[in-house]
């Protein structure tokens, strides 16, 4: 019976609180209401945006590393070897993976690219040069794993018979990237330019077919050519790959795949098998942690600012209406109903702000950052916003608004009724 009474009282409090809140909001100065909602929108934007950009940068670094370099699994020779000697057997194991989608064997070597078209004063003078890691690939396999062909910003991707073609990462070219004075770039090189590729004491002429921009600094400082052209230059006639990137079916467990390879490849001590996460340079994973922490700090500061804003708004509103709160209590309106009305007003401000800024984020900011990512030296940063992230931050701001609305209302309603009416 007592529970039913309490429930009935609670219902009345909610109903009267809603009635009061609705009228109060309806008859408030619309500019004041708009301003408060605007402040709440900015608070929520700040909570989402700063964290989202920082996380987006970290995600951008990780994703580009995974997409264009390591893929799901990256296999490298053990430290004492320069190549994977049993590559054929290893590829058979890889292709037998239940979650196998594609793989690419890469043959890497340090090389020098020389632009002989540079104006030389004397014949003995060397041309403009740049050092790079040159990667021999099967274009079809590499594209199946990394989708690199879609990142060609100028020219075209390598074709399977293009024996003297080369794809250059944008970081090798002065026109596409700016490096320090100690990092030389090739100038004036474009599609069709002839370059001399020097590996050890051998050299061949190659022609630039395309320029690639993946946003990943490792890949963008590489040069790609057909493995069939490159292997003879490094005397590799045994198909011993320098690294093998393996793409798994979407949603597959990388750890399981790694375990499968290690268990089924007899020469597993000769290789290092790493998942995408393990391949990440420590600097990137540290950066992700730091960015996440910075995002959280900015979010918490925004939350505090938002909470104080709502607190001040509700407190000033309640203080200026202290007399009327006293009158309401005087005519029998419960303190709880009055508190409900203030809490509902603060929830209205917060939810309107959340809704307004969510629409801005989803309809404008996220698509805008997708088209115009932030350019950073090591990667491109997009806005990392997920529905769950928005919901969680929205709930936190709503809870904060609830507390920030309730506390000042409670402070005023618990004052002596007569003192409130008489303004004592």
């Amino acid at each position: 019976m007592k529970i039913l009474d309490l429930f009935s009282k609670f219902q009345k409090d909610i109903f009267v609180g809603r009635f009061l809140a609705f009228r109060e909001l309806k008859r408030n100065n619309p500019w004041s209401t708009a301003l408060i909602i605007f402040v709440m929108s900015l608070t929520f934007l700040n909570m989402v945006l700063m964290g989202g950009i920082l996380t987006g940068l970290a995600d951008g670094m990780m994703n580009s590393f995974k997409t264009y370099y390591s893929s799901d699994i990256l296999i490298k020779p053990a430290t004492q070897y320069i190549s994977i000697s049993q590559s054929g057997m290893l590829n058979s194991v890889i292709k037998s993976l239940p979650s196998y989608k594609a793989s690419s064997s890469r043959y890497t070597t340090p090389a020098i690219l020389e632009n002989e078209n540079k104006v030389k004063i004397r014949n003995t003078e060397i041309g403009q040069r740049v050092s790079s890691t040159t990667v021999g690939i099967n274009p079809k396999d590499e594209d199946a794993v990394t989708g690199i062909s879609s990142e060609i910003i100028l020219g075209e991707y390598l074709k399977e018979y293009d024996t003297d073609g080369i794809i250059l990462g944008k970081s090798l070219l002065a026109e596409y990237s700016q490096g320090s004075s100690t990092e030389p770039r090739l100038k004036g090189v474009t599609i069709g330019s002839r370059l001399k590729l020097i590996i050890g004491n051998k050299d061949i002429d190659v022609f630039v077919r395309g320029i690639v921009d993946t946003g990943n600094s490792t890949v963008d400082s590489r040069a790609f050519m057909l493995e069939s052209t490159m292997r003879p230059l490094v005397n590799n006639y045994s198909l011993s790959a320098s690294e093998i990137a393996v793409l798994l079916n979407s949603g597959s467990n990388r750890e399981e795949a790694k375990g499968y390879i290690l268990n089924n490849f007899s020469y597993n001590t000769d290789v290092i098998v790493e998942t995408a996460e393990e391949t990440l340079p420590k600097a990137i994973s540290d950066m992700k942690k730091t960015f996440s922490m910075l995002g959280n700090i900015v979010g918490v500061i925004s939350l505090i600012v938002g909470a104080i804003t709502i607190f001040i708004v509700i407190f000033v509103n309640a203080i200026t209406r202290r007399k009327y709160i006293g009158i309401m209590k005087g005519i029998g309106i419960s303190a709880r109903a009055i508190e409900v009305s203030y809490v509902m007003q603060s929830l209205f401000y917060a939810l309107s702000g959340i809704l307004f800024s969510s629409l801005i984020i989803v309809w404008f900011l996220a698509p805008w950052f997708d088209i115009h990512p932030l350019k950073f030296p090591v990667t491109e940063g997009k806005l990392a916003v997920t529905t769950s992230g928005l919901v969680i931050r929205g709930l936190i701001l709503t809870l904060t608004a609830f507390i920030s609305g309730y506390v000042p209302a409670r402070m005023v309603t618990k004052q002596n009724t007569l003192d409130a009416i008489l303004g004592r």
């Binding site: 009935s8 109903f15 009061l20 005087g330 303190a335 009416i421």
Partner: protein, 228 residues
């Protein structure tokens, strides 16, 4: 029936104390129209606050219909006021963000009465005080007399056992004051218990009984000469 027994109210302001009410006792039977009069500072408003449970005496007991109100908690007092008392404030005290009709609906909504029914009863109450054409006006769009009549409608809409009025005509012109008092007399004729504080002896005479306070004590308690 209200019974007041030996109530004393002392205010402490800094190091000083002021005894506003000194051991006052009296009883008000149901249906009576009582006027409490006295000079400014005599303690009449303070007495009304004790009777209407807006304030708590330092000593003594106020009993309403055999309920010892000193034993009620603050929340219970609010609920008791809602169920049993109506209060008309000197400065009208209607809520500025609500229309006349919404102001009158408030006590009914707090009773848990359906919004539609509350609206109908509020309109009836406003018609009783001749404000049927001001239902949707905000307080800022009403004159002082009209605001006071809204306040009366709000105080009577839930059929309270006792109606308290604190200087209800103090801020009104004579025409508006007479309208308000006519309403009180009409309510009284219908059996409403009314306790009104006033410093205007002319209006006090309209009541059945007149208690005059002086320096926090009852100076006289006698039937008023009822005007017809």
């Amino acid at each position: 029936m209200i019974t007041v027994k030996d109530i004393t109210r002392i205010f402490t302001i800094g190091d000083n104390t002021l005894t506003a009410l000194k051991k006052i006792s009296f009883a008000v039977p149901g249906g009576q129209f009582l006027a409490i009069t006295g000079m400014s500072g005599s303690g009449k408003s303070t007495l009304l606050y004790q009777l209407s449970l807006l304030d708590t005496p330092n000593q003594g007991v106020v009993t309403i219909d055999d309920i010892d109100t000193s034993k009620l908690t603050n929340e219970e007092k609010i609920s008791f006021r809602l169920k049993n008392l109506g209060y008309i404030f000197q400065d009208y005290a209607i809520l500025p963000m609500l229309t006349a009709k919404e102001n009158v609906m408030m006590p009914l909504l707090m009773h848990g009465i359906d919004e539609g029914v509350a609206q109908k009863r509020a309109i009836d109450a406003l018609m009783k005080v001749d404000l049927q054409d001001r239902l949707d006006n905000l307080p800022s769009q009403l004159s002082g007399g009209q605001q006071q009549r809204v306040s009366i409608a709000r105080a009577i809409v839930h059929n309270p056992k006792i109606l308290f009025a604190d200087e209800p005509t103090a801020n009104l012109d004579s025409e508006s004051s007479e309208k308000v008092l006519d309403i009180f007399l009409d309510l009284h004729r219908q059996g409403q218990t009314i306790i009104m504080v006033t410093h205007e002896s002319e209006y006090a005479k309209l009541a059945q009984r007149n208690i005059e306070l002086r320096d926090g004590k009852i100076a006289s308690d006698k039937p008023a000469k009822l005007k017809t």
